[in-house]
């Protein structure tokens, strides 16, 4: 009698960010022994947020960025708003870990390189998708139909929200379902003025506080926000959700978690006899040592591009074009939000009103165009929302004033105008030609083929850009701006919104999709992919909450299969 070899772990999760943290927590809490592999460095919650609460006078150059060094080592990452001397240790070093950047198809791959991943750096905006989003592909025929609808995910949104803590205001909108909310943050006086004017002069839009994974009261042992401002510099009090502050500690508390940083996954080993993944091949980024670990269940949560890179690099006789790629669609239908456009308006209202504390969210105008029940006829498909920022200008805007002496000093030290900015986030259509691939001759320092991108905005995205700007003009006029500035007249390079999605999409048909309705690979029963790569369309709302909900839902299904002996 042959004794079956026991796997090293019950489940292996690749990636420790937004999705990986959730996979780890849920799997550990179901009693599985879990190994989390993270390619980035080991940073400790509360200990290694090097920039937290540091005044700019502590920073090299007092906050001016080291230009030559960033150009040399962070050529891509420096485009990210959160990249600075207080956060660089969380970001990927582009020189050490490059990808094939093609200036003709400039796709910006913004990535973290630390335990916690981009959950440490994210904008913390959380919005549920609705059936307007899940039915978008089947309605207009772009992309393939989603294999799930809102009702499949709703209870998982609730499950996630109750754990992470989401502050916001319930609106009862079918196009933007409400979350389980903690009390919302307040509006600025100017926002209240603007909200009142919009209600009268642009009543087709709603204005609400941004829904944000920042605590307005103590929640599950994490403290309420102390309103210091730059969340991306890290939060020792765990007041914004990150896997470091929330899901990884929950996973660790079970005693079932093993987490290995500096562990670059080279590929997954497919066993043609069992039809399952048997092992993961890992390279230690510090000493280049190679190891392999076995498990019954594998969760790929390495981010959209990271996960698909691993699958594309996991070639075998069964899967010569990449793991679980019998459909040939792996790497295709890459999406990102149409971003970088909108308007900033200057307002002379509420000049005698100021503020206390730095509110870690802006305002939000939910999608109001092309909603199916409005029967509109626009020259574009899908829609967009605006994320807004309300701020009082200061010396940073007017430091280039003419003049000298006490008068200059006095004018620079005082608050200036109010600015209300509306930044559009538009829904990108899924297209086969927008894709990522492995470069055939360029490898990284681990010998792993580098990722390359082919991506172009098309006619619909250009039309969305125009609409986002013309509607913003209309809204600022209705809101009473005395003057508006453009945030951009063309979409930012793809990737800049840091909402990259697709490349291993879900679908009911195994001939045109990689994953089924449970994020399980059609071709490989013990492989689940639950980060942004699973997305079949892009919606216009921020995607992280949906990744977390889909991850928890996929774990529930996978553990059921495992318990029933089906894996």
């Amino acid at each position: 009698m042959i004794e079956a070899k026991q796997p090293d772990f019950d489940a292996i999760v690749i990636g420790s960010g937004m999705s990986g943290g959730w996979a780890a927590k849920e799997l550990c809490e179901r009693g599985l022994k879990v190994l989390v592999l993270e390619r980035g460095k080991d940073i400790q919650h509360g200990m290694d947020y090097l920039g937290e609460h540091a005044g700019d006078w502590k920073l090299p150059y007092q906050g001016k960025k080291p230009r030559a060094e960033y150009e040399e080592e962070y050529a891509i990452q420096q485009a990210c708003y959160a990249m600075g001397e207080g956060t660089r240790h969380v970001f990927n070093n582009d020189k050490e870990n490059p990808y094939h950047y093609d200036a003709k198809h400039p796709f910006e791959w913004l990535r973290a390189d630390a335990v916690g991943g981009r959950s440490l750096l994210w904008g913390r905006q959380v919005y549920r998708w609705s059936d307007v989003d899940f039915q978008a592909n089947s309605r207009d025929g772009y992309g393939i139909p989603w294999p799930i609808g809102y009702e499949d995910v709703a209870s998982w949104y609730t499950h996630v929200e109750k754990h992470i803590g989401v502050s916001g205001e319930a609106l009862g909108l079918p196009e933007l379902p409400d979350s389980e909310f903690l009390p919302p943050m307040e509006l600025f006086a100017l926002e209240k003025t603007i909200k009142g004017r919009l209600a009268k002069k642009a009543s087709d839009v709603k204005y609400t506080i941004g829904r944000v994974a920042v605590l307005t009261q103590e929640h599950k042992g994490r403290a309420a926000c102390h309103y210091c401002g730059p969340c991306h510099k890290g939060c020792s009090t765990g007041s914004y959700f990150s896997s470091q502050s929330s899901t990884l500690p929950a996973a660790r508390a079970t005693g079932n978690l093993t987490l290995l940083p500096n562990s670059v996954v080279e590929r997954l080993e497919f066993d043609p006899v069992t039809g399952h993944i048997s092992e993961v091949h890992v390279i230690n980024s510090r000493n280049m040592e190679r190891k392999h670990f076995s498990a019954r269940l594998f969760f790929l949560c390495a981010s959209t591009v990271g996960s698909t890179q691993i699958m594309l690099n996991s070639r075998s006789e069964t899967f010569p074009d990449g793991l679980a790629n019998s459909s040939g669609t792996l790497g295709t239908h890459l999406m990102d939000h149409v971003y970088g456009v909108g308007r900033a308006g200057i307002y002379l209202d509420n000049m005698n009103s100021y503020y206390h504390g730095n509110r870690p969210t802006g305002g939000y105008i939910p999608r109001f165009r092309n909603l199916p029940w409005n029967k509109e006829h626009n020259d574009y498909l899908r829609g967009f929302n605006y994320q807004t920022q309300c701020m009082r200008t200061d010396w940073r805007l007017t430091m280039n004033s003419k003049g000298f002496g006490a008068d200059l000093k006095n004018s620079l030290r005082k608050p200036g105008y109010w600015v209300w900015a509306t930044a559009g986030f538009g829904e990108c259509l899924p297209r086969a030609s927008n894709r990522m691939y492995l470069h055939h001759s360029k490898v990284d320092r681990f010998g792993i083929p580098q990722v390359g991108f082919e991506f172009n905005w098309h006619q619909n995205e250009h039309a969305l850009v125009k609409a986002m700007n013309s509607e913003a003009d209309r809204l600022h006029k209705a809101a009473g701006a005395i003057f508006t500035l453009s945030l951009g007249d063309e979409a930012a390079p793809p990737g800049r919104a840091i909402h990259e999605m697709g490349t291993a999409r879900m679908g009911d048909d195994p001939t045109n999709s990689v994953l089924n309705s449970r994020n399980q690979a059609h071709d490989v029963a013990n492989l689940f992919v639950t980060d942004g790569s699973c997305m079949t369309s892009a919606s216009c709302v921020n995607p992280s909450l949906t990744y977390m909900a889909l991850t928890a839902r996929a774990v529930d299904y996978a553990v059921t299969l495992l318990t029933e002996g089906q894996l």
Binding site: K33, K41, W57, P230, G357, N400, K409, R413
Partner: protein, 206 residues
Amino acid sequence: MNRRQFLECSSIFFCGLTASQLGVSLTAEQRVHLTTADNYLNRDVSFFDSQQRSDIVAIADAIIPRTETPGAVDARVPRYVELMVSNWLTDPERKLFMAGLDQLQQRSRQRGDSFSELGITEQLALLEQLESEAGDHSWYDFGNIRREYLSDAPFICQIKELTVWGFFSSEVGATQVLRYKHMPMYFDGDVPLDSQESAWYSGAIE
């Protein structure tokens, strides 16, 4: 390898480099908590000669003088300028800066003394002359807060940017001239503003 063997060896295999947990790409200096770091202004620099140093002090003082609150010299802005010119400007920007400073020094001598020894009226006249010559350079465009540093900005714009930035992002400028709380503890979006009150310091990097 089974799970128990793995756990036994993993601490050696994966955690052997505790002294540099934060990665090969960071220097020792970049691995410290910035709140405990020395202020940037305490770094060593020796780039200007003594006359240049005196003139930079006089220029910074003319741009942001001490009033009822500290001025640029109190906030050690001249040192910031020297550090930035020495370490942060590119070679062409540094040449532009030094040529501009040289020209200002020549014009001062034509008026009979070094810039630092001239009276404030004459100093301001010279600076205003430079500003008028810089005319409508794009550096003065309204609202270009989010721009990169403009490499072709004339000397007067360079020195003004370094002075204003260095002043308000210094500890003295941010906490004694502007207002600063590193943990405000609550948010209130509607607080009465006195017309003489300073803005909050809200960071050079957003």
